[in-house]
Symmetry: C2
Subunit: 203 residues, 2 copies
């Protein structure tokens, strides 16, 4: 069974730039990708990276200059086996999360991200489905599944719903992370517990 992870090689995680330098963001993005790749591989999935330029990684690489949706849909429409699509900024994903998605009886398992996004999808019959990652993609994916007569499970997980996209998201990785990305983040930042929600600030 395959997992495909879209990964932005250059200027990754630009929305973290108010807290982290470009070098730190590059390291963090690659460590998140490493944690995710390892979890997926340990769960028995064959990992493919989807990038916009050549990149060295211990995985199959597909380079496409198309937009994300077109590149993913080009991939899905030639797959005979189930496919899991995992965003590269969901480092808390666990072996149990992957196993639970694989074991779902639904034809499409959708893990919502924050703010209407889609962080992980498990697609049992890729040729019968297509993705649309712009706008409120969670609602779009539920609709696309319904339009194609496919059963849907909304996957209820804090881990997979936590996409690390903005500075305010880093606290989830800092507090709940168990992998290399969280260790790195904890080495360069600290927690500010002074008021309201806890935040990650410079060390």
């Amino acid at each position: 069974m395959k997992a495909i992870v879209p990964f932005k090689v250059i200027n990754a995680k630009s929305r973290l730039s108010s807290l982290l330098t470009v070098e730190e963001r590059t390291i963090l993005a690659r460590l998140m990708l490493q944690d995710i790749t390892r979890t997926l591989k340990d769960s028995g999935l064959k990992v493919t990276l989807l990038t916009t330029m050549p990149f060295e990684w211990d995985a199959e690489i597909i380079v496409s200059e198309k937009d994300l949706n077109s590149a993913l849909n080009d991939f899905l429409c030639v797959q005979d086996e189930p496919v899991m699509i995992v965003m590269a900024d969901v480092p808390l994903i666990s072996h149990k999360n992957v196993a639970d998605m694989l074991n779902s009886p639904a034809e499409i398992v959708i893990s919502p991200g924050r703010g209407g996004g889609t962080n992980v999808q498990f697609i049992r019959h890729p040729k019968k489905y297509h993705v649309d990652y712009y706008g409120a993609s969670f609602l779009d994916h539920v609709r696309i599944a319904a339009d194609n007569g496919l059963s849907v499970e909304v996957f209820d997980s804090f881990n997979t719903s936590s996409d690390i996209d903005e500075v305010g998201d880093l606290v989830e990785l800092y507090i709940h992370g168990k992998g290399d990305a969280s260790r790195y983040l904890r080495s360069i930042t600290k927690l500010d517990t002074s008021k309201g929600r806890v935040k990650v600030v410079r060390g």
Copy 2:
């Protein structure tokens, strides 16, 4: 088995004031409380509200002028049965979430909130435990359980991790809510899908 829900009667959800009027916030807070109360009762729990002033609600009411931690710990230390503590701004909590927490083999089940918070806790032996809701309460609660030799499950749920505290959180209720609070929110606001994460804006 009991559930206790702390509820702020006056000026509830003040951090939503940049989008919602005081009247709208009052209605939304009560509808969230109603959705939560109904889910807990339907799951077989006896619901108690903890408030700082007298309040009419279809539940037992405890009025305490103490701070949140002291008031909750006063309650816990006289309970012989298990207790679930549910924050009043977690309207997505489902029957399955409650059942899964009740069925956990752990002595303490902790559902993290965003930014280091604690949204729901299930405490099997309340007399052996106490709460500390300030700062990074998730980390504090894990530590308090460990200090008392109690086993912990970190409850991995998007529903229960979604506390509706800031304007940016409303989108989760708008998109994923199935109860009266979400219907009300959808009647007075709309989604802005123009860029990045989707947001709730005025209709």
